[in-house]
């Protein structure tokens, strides 16, 4: 059993929520902020992009989600080489003054699977540069081990392709990664609905990162609330320890004393 509070600890920082939500694909930043409140998440992922010079008055994410109250986790979405990723996160560190980052080095836009060779290389460079690296990776226990050995702060295997909402496709691998890893394991990508998040947590994951599942729900605020409960339910079920699976029925009412 974890500490009294059962908080999520990443690179020495403590978070009361095990849910991390994205800030993409929402209709408005206001809706995004409401979903964040409903989800109870402490961390949001954010992208790093050029400022709009033709319209400097356009709404900014920081005007809706306060970086002093919610941890911004800058990502490297859209980066296809280690160099791109490092350049992006160095700028993010300067803009935000924060060295906890999400590394994702993607490959083919069709499936958005991580390029693990580049991911390993980039992780090494970022760690040497003083970053705490939470790394998006394939659900391969061998690569997950290599990333942990490099010193990554959290291992974040995909449950299914980014934005697919297909749920946890390989429970065996996620479970293997959870068992072998001593830093937090956070399922990143693939969750479609609350039951998918529950499964991730029941497998022993330390948290779940999701974006589309909330942003593209018909009612994102209600789905954010559902995910908050899902993370808690799954976590508690994991800590409680499920009953053994049996092949046959086992009556819950005693058979003795029947009239």
């Amino acid at each position: 059993m974890a500490a009294k509070q059962d908080n999520l600890i990443i690179a020495g920082r403590e978070f009361s929520s095990r849910l991390i939500i994205g800030t993409g694909k929402y209709d408005t930043y206001a809706q995004n902020a409401d979903a964040l409140t409903a989800s109870g998440a402490d961390i949001v992922t954010v992208a790093v992009r050029r400022v709009n010079l033709t319209n400097p008055d356009e709404p900014l994410l920081v005007d809706f989600i306060d970086p002093k109250k919610t941890v911004y986790l800058p990502n490297t979405a859209g980066c296809f080489t280690g160099e791109d990723a490092i350049r992006t996160l160095r700028l993010a560190r300067e803009a935000g003054g924060w060295n906890l980052v999400k590394l994702e080095v993607l490959s083919d836009p069709k499936h958005l699977y991580p390029d693990m060779e580049e991911t390993l290389r980039a992780a090494k460079l970022l760690i040497a540069d003083g970053f705490d690296v939470m790394v998006y990776c394939s659900d391969d226990p061998v690569f997950a081990r290599k990333l942990e050995d490099l010193g990554c702060a959290a291992i974040m295997p995909l449950g299914a392709p980014i934005g697919s909402g297909l749920g946890i496709q390989n429970r065996v691998n996620i479970r293997l990664i959870v068992e072998q890893t001593s830093v937090p394991v956070i399922v990143d990508a693939g969750v479609g609905t609350a039951s998918d998040a529950v499964i991730a947590m029941e497998l022993g994951c330390d948290g779940v990162l999701m974006n589309t599942a909330i942003a593209e729900a018909k009612d994102p605020i209600l789905m954010a609330k559902a995910m908050k409960h899902a993370l808690k339910a799954g976590r508690q079920a994991y800590l409680a320890g499920r009953m053994a699976r049996k092949k046959y029925a086992d009556p819950s009412s005693p058979l003795a004393g029947l009239i």
Binding site: G24, R49, R50, V51, L91, E94
Partner: protein
């Protein structure tokens, strides 16, 4: 002088302007952004002292929504 900022060419800036002057010219809030000049990050503490030169290539970034 000519500057390239976020991929666009700007010719309306006078020589001798520093990063702080550029940001104020562009109407950008310096707390919410980061600046890269010729592939090197300009720390916020250097905005007042780093003077831009003809031909400089600048990237100015901020945080936007993402997953």
């Amino acid at each position: 002088m000519q500057l390239t900022i976020n991929g666009e060419i700007y010719t309306d800036l006078n020589a001798g302007i520093n990063v702080l002057g550029l940001l104020s010219h562009l109407n950008l809030p310096k707390a919410k952004i980061a600046v890269e000049r010729n592939r090197v990050i300009v720390p916020k503490s250097g905005y007042g002292t780093v003077v831009l030169k003809d031909g400089d290539v600048l990237e100015i970034i901020t945080f936007i929504g993402g997953g």
